[in-house]
């Protein structure tokens, strides 16, 4: 499979999209785009160990969510959201690519708006991916 996390141009473009999201959506604190097997492509915000641990956890959560969707025959997974006291976490697959975006939003943001904002960024990243050699 294409090694997205080793594509320098893609990493830069993804970083720019994450930065764009944080500009449009001030409540976004942390963002990351990771491969479905947990490697970090790009991050934004203050993350420990370059986001590697968050990358792995995102990969695991996404896979577990898909396993539940399969079990219940609910079709394709769209996004995964967690609400916590201090904010929300949203994870969303990037189109048909083996990539996932994850972002945290503080409690100024409603979950619905967070998902809406993130979807727009996911579409933009899909556009960037079409410019690479990456195959779905």
């Amino acid at each position: 499979m294409y090694a997205y996390h080793k594509d320098k141009k893609l990493k830069d473009r993804c970083a720019a999209e994450l930065k764009g999201l944080s500009t449009r959506c001030k409540s976004m604190k942390i963002g990351a785009i990771v491969t479905s097997d947990g490697f970090v492509v790009s991050t934004h915000g203050d993350l420990q160990d370059d986001g590697n641990r968050l990358g792995s956890m995102t990969s695991s959560m996404q896979a577990l969510a898909e396993a539940v969707h399969d079990e219940l025959d609910l079709g394709e997974n769209k996004h995964l959201a967690f609400a916590a006291d201090k904010g929300n976490i949203v994870m969303q697959k990037i189109g048909k690519y083996p990539l996932v975006m994850t972002a945290t939003f503080d409690d100024r943001e409603t979950l619905g708006h967070a998902i809406f904002s993130m979807s727009a960024t996911v579409d933009a990243v899909c556009g960037q991916l079409k410019k690479t050699r990456a195959k779905i």
């Binding site: 499979m1 097997d37 792995s56």
Partner: protein, 189 residues
């Protein structure tokens, strides 16, 4: 219902998912993702959270089998899953880079299971690479402080008989340790 959790651990490509598929009587819950490290381990997908299978023994007892991801970066899943486990199957592919070190690495990572229950080691893909042999593994394990009596076998994870033999050896070994120390409790249910 008493539930007995057995963990299957080992490096990426050792055959953990296949082993659980061989043993489980229910469709295995797998969390596979496309493998971007194909240059390192030649397989299309890799487990990123867990594999889950089960064996119902009767109305009151069930063995739950959990396979953990092999890569170090998923070690948070190891910590989550090891809590309820009473036994550990370590699988290592003999054609991996440092198979001896891999075995002791996983034994150390899951030392708590070994202490409260037991473990068994299965060497896979020894048909593709004969060395190191079982004697080498035992020597290495004992050099790393493990006491005598560790069950270790060459196995094919696709072979259900091999996997049943490993599971039975694991539980028998836990039983004989319980007889020797009287401080092992198998059921966590």
């Amino acid at each position: 219902m008493a539930e007995h959790v057995i963990l299957v651990a080992g490096p990426m490509g050792a055959g953990k998912t296949t082993a659980i598929q061989s043993l489980s009587e229910v469709p295995v819950v797998s969390t596979e993702a496309a493998n971007t490290e194909i240059d390192r381990v030649n397989k299309a997908t890799t487990t990123v959270a867990l594999d889950y299978g089960e064996i119902s023994l009767d109305d009151t007892d069930k063995i739950r089998l959990y396979g953990v991801p092999g890569q170090r970066r998923f070690d948070f899943m190891w910590r989550i899953l090891e809590k309820r486990a009473v036994g550990l199957i370590v699988l290592v592919n003999n054609d991996t880079e440092q198979p001896l070190e891999e075995v002791t690495y996983f034994m150390n990572q899951f030392a708590s299971i070994h202490q409260r229950g037991g473990l068994v080691v299965g060497v896979t893909r020894s048909d593709l690479k004969a060395e190191p042999g079982i004697g080498d593994y035992l020597m290495h394990i004992e050099e790393n402080g493990e006491t005598h009596g560790m069950p270790i076998f060459t196995v094919d994870p696709r072979n259900r008989d091999h996997m049943v033999m490993m599971l039975f050896s694991l539980l028998t070994n836990i039983q004989s340790r319980a007889g020797a120390t009287d401080n092992v409790c198998l059921s966590q249910g």
